[in-house]
Symmetry: C2
Subunit: 345 residues, 2 copies
């Protein structure tokens, strides 16, 4: 399986996020990529290939131009307001209920217009890292389009919580959606299966009113779990997209038996959609020992997830999303890919 | 002038708020009340009177029952989740754009459903203090209704950023709106004039579709200043309330000349409305030396504000809102009241 990765991600290195009313060390850290690469090497995957630069055009199919300029320019504006000793740009005021979606001039509040959490900092290197991650997803998508049966884009920062003009959940550019859109633009029929433990709210939002891309997300109950304000089973799409979004319910703390039931429903819906291409938003924060996992899968479950996905027998692009148990993230990720490859061969 | 105050506010003592991506010492602190009481005493105001308990009924005319239960129960739920060593309840995920107004079970996210900033902590004593502040406003309103020409409710925490079921901006219960509603329920015709430096978004929202209460707010340009996402000049009311909300524009950094122009427009609109009662949301964070002031009034301006307001010649209830320059907040507040009293006599 082709693996696409780049050290460019390391320019984005969050130091903390808000939890319990105080800053705790960030969960989404550069070491995640190194640990995954190490596990892939240990499992004899091919050496990773660097991404090609695709430019902004494929990003603009998914994200707004003003949003991309915001991501690029926000940190310099933040630094101009607060100075060099405020290295993590987080908003203090956000666009809540009963308020009006006006874009403020103040940079602190402009962050609060564009995000919905205090977990997703902007740094000097954030936009460059996010662009490199999107390029990784696009490069892997091109391999698929050129005939590869499977490819893995080791994206960081992740993407599935980012919508057209919204960042959050450690995500800035929606790598999964950008790749799915690019494949669609090549004439392919794409289904997205999101197996990250958290709902892929950004991906759902981007394709919510479209029938040409099916979106399915398996995740912990949003009443208990991030992103909290989306990911319910009654969200089935809207307008032309009605019926083309699926969120099979999964109770908090679910183990493999419940998970496989939801996965089977997902696979059946995807089969009925009849895609020629599958994009898997691959998060491994479904793991019981993950610090922010809502579910309780164990290490032995991960090859089985890959094997189940292989039943669809479609060219499959894996795009890295979450996974924060540093002692396990490498093996869990490699095991999904190995389970897929071994069952496919 | 009657002064209503109570030491009950001190049970709400925030230690910090988010600014520039880190926690800084809170601006809204118990010392504010002591400093204002000291200045009133120095200026020979009558000793303050304690508030009467009005119960929940007058609060429920303005706020939702579920919201009151949330304010009361949130901190115990927070403590149950995070433990005693997390004394300041702030959410990490908020209800931003592209999301759905679902109430989560998770207490951290439930805070993010009900607020829109990381500046307004919930503590064990918050709800009790907020209730005492509302009682202070109600007690002062009753004096007015019983014939007093003027009264001052030294409320803390402040209230004007809190809407029906939204807290933020250091505000939990909208003392000004609660008093205005109570006076309306006694058959009075009430105009609210908000002279806090920040837009009274909660008050505006509560009365936005009503013609029976006029709301006017003078404040710094929301493009630059909290609450950022409301307070624009084109917000004139909706439905039956169309034409009954006024936000005269004030450029960031305005001094008295520009301020008086806006105040004159406000007074003319209030005169045209023909109220028999005036409620003034009295913030003194219009002061040039206030750490979060968007405007640039100087100490000598404050008696003039009181004198201008007295031109309306209406029974007037002053309800304390913001003011964070600890070296000045007492005198500024006393000077508005003195300017009003001296011009009225």
């Amino acid at each position: 399986m082709k693996v696409i990765a780049t050290p460019a991600h390391a320019a984005h290195a969050p130091s903390g996020e808000l939890e319990g009313g105080r800053f705790v060390p960030a969960y989404e850290v550069p070491a995640r990529v190194d640990l995954i690469l190490g596990a892939l090497e240990a499992h004899s995957f091919a050496a990773p290939e660097a991404p090609s630069a695709f430019g902004e055009a494929p990003l603009l199919k998914v994200h707004g131009a003003a949003y991309l300029r915001f991501l690029e320019d926000a940190f310099p504006a933040w630094r101009a307001k607060f100075g060099d000793d405020h290295p993590s740009a987080f908003p203090s005021t956000l666009l809540g209920r009963h308020l009006r979606a006006m874009k403020p001039r103040d940079i602190d509040a402009l962050l609060g217009y564009y995000t919905f959490d205090i977990a997703t900092p902007l740094h000097a290197g954030t936009y460059g890292a996010a662009r490199a991650a999107a390029d990784s997803a696009l490069t892997a998508a091109r391999h698929l389009h050129e005939g590869a049966p499977a490819a893995f884009a080791l994206c960081r920062p992740p993407g599935h919580h980012a919508a057209q003009d919204l960042y959050g959940g450690y995500c800035y550019l929606n790598n999964t959606a950008i790749a799915a859109q690019w494949l669609t633009d090549q004439g392919r029929r794409v289904a997205i299966l999101d197996i990250d433990g958290h709902h892929g709210n950004g991906t759902q939002t981007i394709f919510y009113e479209r029938a040409d891309v099916l979106t399915v997300s398996l995740h912990g109950d949003p009443r208990d779990t991030y992103p909290f304000f989306l990911g319910y089973a009654d969200e089935t799409g809207a307008g032309a997209g009605e019926g083309f979004n699926l969120n099979p319910p999964l109770a908090t703390g679910s183990r493999l038996d419940a998970y496989r039931e939801a996965l089977n429903a997902a696979i059946a819906r995807i089969e009925a959609f009849g895609p020629d291409t599958l994009v898997v938003a691959l998060g491994v924060d479904t793991f019981a020992e993950d610090p922010i996992s809502p579910l309780a899968l164990i290490e032995a479950d991960y090859p089985r997830l890959g094997a189940e996905i292989s039943r669809l027998k479609r060219p499959t692009l894996f795009v890295m999303e979450g996974g924060y148990a540093l002692h396990a993230v490498g093996n869990l990720t490699a095991n999904v890919l190995l389970g897929f490859s071994q069952a496919s061969s």
